[in-house]
């Protein structure tokens, strides 16, 4: 695998989304996320080229550990220099929320409005609000609304599927 550019590209493609979710979740939307993702793959590919990763079935765990350690290092630096905004240092020209993002938010809100309007049950709407927005405990919601865990999961499953459908329809029109 060492030196094979095509294989390296497919490795990045395969793990990119997963690494991006892990890092994005850890740094909570800070602009540093892209740099950490890039560094994760840089270090991983370097190790592979050096022949340090001999067992392919441990590759996922290795990439995860590299990403996690980079996140830990980042927060260590932030804690060591609380007076310096590292995000600004790394991204001097990082823009604030732009018009494109504003538009996306409006579209998302409109899709959610349609989803909620098409839901027949007031109870199901309450499940979505309390679980996703108010972040209430599932057990408490189930207890209050007289739902079983399975019924609760079904509400979420249907909502996700319906939202995805609306999202795809909008993308198809766009």
């Amino acid at each position: 695998m060492a030196g094979d550019r095509c294989a390296e590209e497919s490795l990045v493609q395969r793990y990119q989304r997963g690494v991006s979710i892990i890092v994005g979740q850890a740094v909570r939307g800070r602009p540093i996320a892209d740099d950490i993702c890039q560094d994760t793959f840089r270090i991983t590919l370097q190790k592979i080229r050096q022949g340090d990763i001999r067992e392919p079935d441990r590759l996922s765990a290795f990439i995860w550990s590299v990403a996690r350690n980079l996140v830990t290092d980042y927060f260590r630096k932030v804690n060591a220099h609380p007076d310096v905004d590292l995000d600004t240092v790394y991204h001097l020209s990082d823009p604030a929320v732009g018009p494109e993002e504003e538009l996306l938010k409006k579209e998302q809100a409109e899709l959610a409005r349609r989803l909620l309007a098409e839901m027949k049950s007031e109870r199901d709407r309450e499940v979505l609000y309390r679980f996703y927005i108010a972040e209430d405990d599932k057990k408490r919601i189930c207890h209050d609304l007289g739902l079983t865990s399975l019924q609760f999961n079904l509400v979420l499953f249907r909502a996700r599927a319906h939202y995805r459908k609306l999202f795809e329809q909008r993308a198809g029109r766009g």
């Binding site: 395969r14 340090d52 996703y132 996700r160």
Partner: protein, 268 residues
């Protein structure tokens, strides 16, 4: 981590909300990093959450019916409500007093036992030993393997205690702890070289289910820049665990130093 577990327990939702325990989060991340199905689930969930948040942020949040304690209290008049709240407050305030009282009683009992031992008075026979069997540790006979000795003597000494050196997730190896059930104890050694900035450490061991198995804080590294901890072999059942090492900084903060995932297997 299998998909039915992820879906039944809303693992993706809880992950995005940051509500998973450290070990569950690590386990789920190591799974979905290479799982298209879970990544699609996470994306769908995140899209829906963002959409709902944008919608409810733009408009008025829904008025939810009042439930639980507040609704129950609503059935009573203002004076009755005040009385009920006062009774609950008294009950809550008296709980710590009951707790401390029982703690003090336990400590007094332990102190009395220690005093009895110190004065050289005979100890009562152990309930696990028949009759008046002598509980004073005796040296093992030459043909007796001390590591397999039974009775109180084996509590004082154990030969060839297994020592396991764990590697952090920085390396690409999964640690394996092979426990011999005939050995009562084992030792875990953590190499913490390179993290000497910390004055003390905290160690937490959690099972794959997220259950906290053991925790120790204010631990100091030894002269070899390692942390060695002895455990009873009964502490860990076969399965996967995560050992989390945190460091206390000089400034008074606490930081994650390393994570050591390991698997326990037993040999009889």
């Amino acid at each position: 981590m299998d998909h039915s577990y992820v879906e039944d327990n809303n693992v993706a939702e809880l992950y995005l909300m940051g509500k998973l325990s450290e070990s569950d989060r690590a386990g789920f991340e190591m799974h979905f990093i290479d799982c298209e199905r879970c990544i699609a689930l996470l994306d769908e969930t995140q899209n829906l959450r963002e959409g709902l948040a944008a919608h409810w942020k733009a408009g008025k949040e829904p008025e939810l019916p009042v439930r639980g304690v507040v609704a129950w209290l609503g059935r009573f008049g203002p004076w009755q409500q005040t009385g009920l709240i006062a009774a609950a407050a008294i009950l809550l305030l008296s709980l710590p007093a009951i707790f401390f009282f029982s703690e003090i009683r336990g400590l007094r009992r332990e102190l009395a036992e220690l005093g009895t031992r110190k004065n050289g008075q005979p100890q009562p026979p152990s309930p696990s030993l028949p009759g008046n069997q002598n509980v004073t540790p005796a040296p093992p006979s030459p043909d007796q393997n001390p590591a397999r000795a039974t009775g109180p003597a084996s509590d004082l000494a154990q030969v060839n205690i297994p020592i396991f050196t764990l590697s952090s997730v920085r390396s690409d190896t999964l640690n394996e702890v092979k426990l011999d059930r005939t050995q009562k104890r084992f030792v875990v050694s953590l190499d913490i070289e390179g993290s000497a900035d910390y004055i003390r450490y905290r160690v937490k061991i959690a099972a794959a289910s997220g259950r906290n198995v053991w925790q120790g804080s204010n631990l100091r590294r030894n002269q070899y820049d390692a942390l060695t901890i002895g455990f009873s072999s009964d502490l860990l059942k076969p399965g996967r665990y995560t050992l989390e090492l945190d460091g206390y900084t000089k400034a008074g903060g606490i930081e994650r130093v390393a994570i050591y995932p390991f698997r326990v297997v037993t040999t009889d």
